[in-house]
Assembly symmetry: C2
Homo-oligomer: 226 residues x 2
Amino acid sequence: MTAPRAPSPPTGAGDAARERLLDVAERQFAERGFAETSIRSITTDAGCNVSAVSYYFGNKLGLYTAAIRRRLDGIREQRLLAIREATADLDETADGLDRLLRHFSGVFVAPLLDEGGAQLMSLFLREFVTPQLDPGFLIDEILEPVERALAEALAKVSPGLGPIDARLCAMSHVAQLGHVCHLREGNQGAAGVIDAVIDHVVRFTADGVRAAAARSARVTPAGEVS
Amino acid sequence: MTAPRAPSPPTGAGDAARERLLDVAERQFAERGFAETSIRSITTDAGCNVSAVSYYFGNKLGLYTAAIRRRLDGIREQRLLAIREATADLDETADGLDRLLRHFSGVFVAPLLDEGGAQLMSLFLREFVTPQLDPGFLIDEILEPVERALAEALAKVSPGLGPIDARLCAMSHVAQLGHVCHLREGNQGAAGVIDAVIDHVVRFTADGVRAAAARSARVTPAGEVS
DNA sequence: GCGCGGGTCAAACGAACGTTTGATTTCGAC
DNA sequence: GTCGAAATCAAACGTTCGTTTGACCCGCGC
C-alpha cells in the first residue's frame, strides 16, 4: 500500500517524475496562476498520472509550495551575495555606491534575461499579489531580508546616511527594479531597452542616496559618525 | 422573452441589482482574484439570482470587465487632473518640482486611505499581474497616459531635463508609488507610516530629477533650450 | 522463485463551477 | 382590469476540477 500517502512527501530527490512535475508546475503556475492551472494540465505535460501529485506532494497546494520553495532560497542568496560582494572591497575609491547599485541591480534583473527566468519572476510576482501561501510569506522570505541587507550596505558606502533613510532608499531602489520586472514580463520593451532602464535606475537611486546623505550630514554636524 | 440575452448588455444604468452586482464583484474580485471568485458567491452577497450576471453582463468576464471599467476612467482622470493642477500655476517660485510631485503622489495613494479604496487598488494590481482582459489593457488605459503626462510635467518644471530622462524619472516615481500600494495592501505598515514614506518618495524623486536635469544641462550647454 | 514495497496507472467519485432554460413576478401604460 | 416587457427566480445541464481508489509493473533482497 502506497507508503507516502501521508501529508509529508515521500523522498527528497532522485525521482525523475518528481523533478519533471516541479519544472512543469513552475512554468504553468507562472503563466496562468494557481487557480487557472489544473493538475491534469501539469501532469499531462510532465508525462505522468494525475495521482503523482498527491503521491509526491500531498495535494495541489503542496506542489505549488514545493515549486516556489525550490527556487526561493537560491534567488535570495544570489541577491544577498551580490550585496556582500559589492561591499567587500570597499576600501578603494569613492564610487562604492555606484558599484554597489550596479552590481545588485544586475543580479536582481538577471533572471529576466535568461530563458525561463522571466517566468520565475512572474511566479513570484503572482504569489506576491495573489498569495496562495501565508500572506507576507514572500515579504518575509525575500523582500525584507534583501531590503534590509541593501539598506545596511547603502549606509556603509554613504557616509552620513542614517538607518531610516537607508531603509527608505533601499525600498525605493527595489521598487524600481520590481517595476522593471513587471514591464519586462508584459513584453513591454525589448531586452535591449532593459539595460538602458537599469542604467537610469542606478543613476537615479545613486543621486537620491547622495542627496539624502548630504541632507543628513547637514543636520548632523559633519565629522560626527552615526 | 428576456430581451437582453444578446451579448450586449441591456440597459446602462438605473437597475438596482446591476449596481449591487458591480459593488460586490469589485470587492470579491479584489479580495480573491478572478478565478477564485465564483458567480454564486457574488450573487449571494448581492442578494440576487445567479442568472442576473448573464442577464446584465453576458457572462462572468463581462461582469469583471464592467467592474474594472466603472472605476478606471475616474482614477485616471483624477491623476491627470492632479498633474494639470500642479503645473498650471507654474509662474511662481522655483519649487514647482516639489509641489508637482507632492500633489501627484497624494492623489495617487489617496484611494488607499479611503474605506474600500485599498481593495480598488488591489483589483487593479491583480489585473496588472494576472490579466484576464487583453494583456496591456491597464498599461494602455492608465499606466502609459499617466506616466506620459507626468513626464511632460517633469520636463516643464525642470529646465534642462530631456524628454527621455523625464520619461525614465516618471517611471521611477510611479514605480515607487505602486510599491507603496503593494505594501499597504498587505497590511504592511500602519496608515500613519504611509505619509512618512510618501514624503521620502517625493524627496527621493525630486533629488533624482534635479540631478538628471543638471547632468543634461552639463552635456547640453546652458541656455540652450531643448 | 518469491515476496515486498516503491512507483505508476486508468478509472471513478463527489463537489463546484459557469451557463442556460423556462416559468413566475413585478409594474407602468393604456 | 389587462397586457407586455423587464426583471427575477428555482432548477437543471454539462463540464471541469481535485482527490481517491485499487490494481498493475518492476527491481531488489532473500
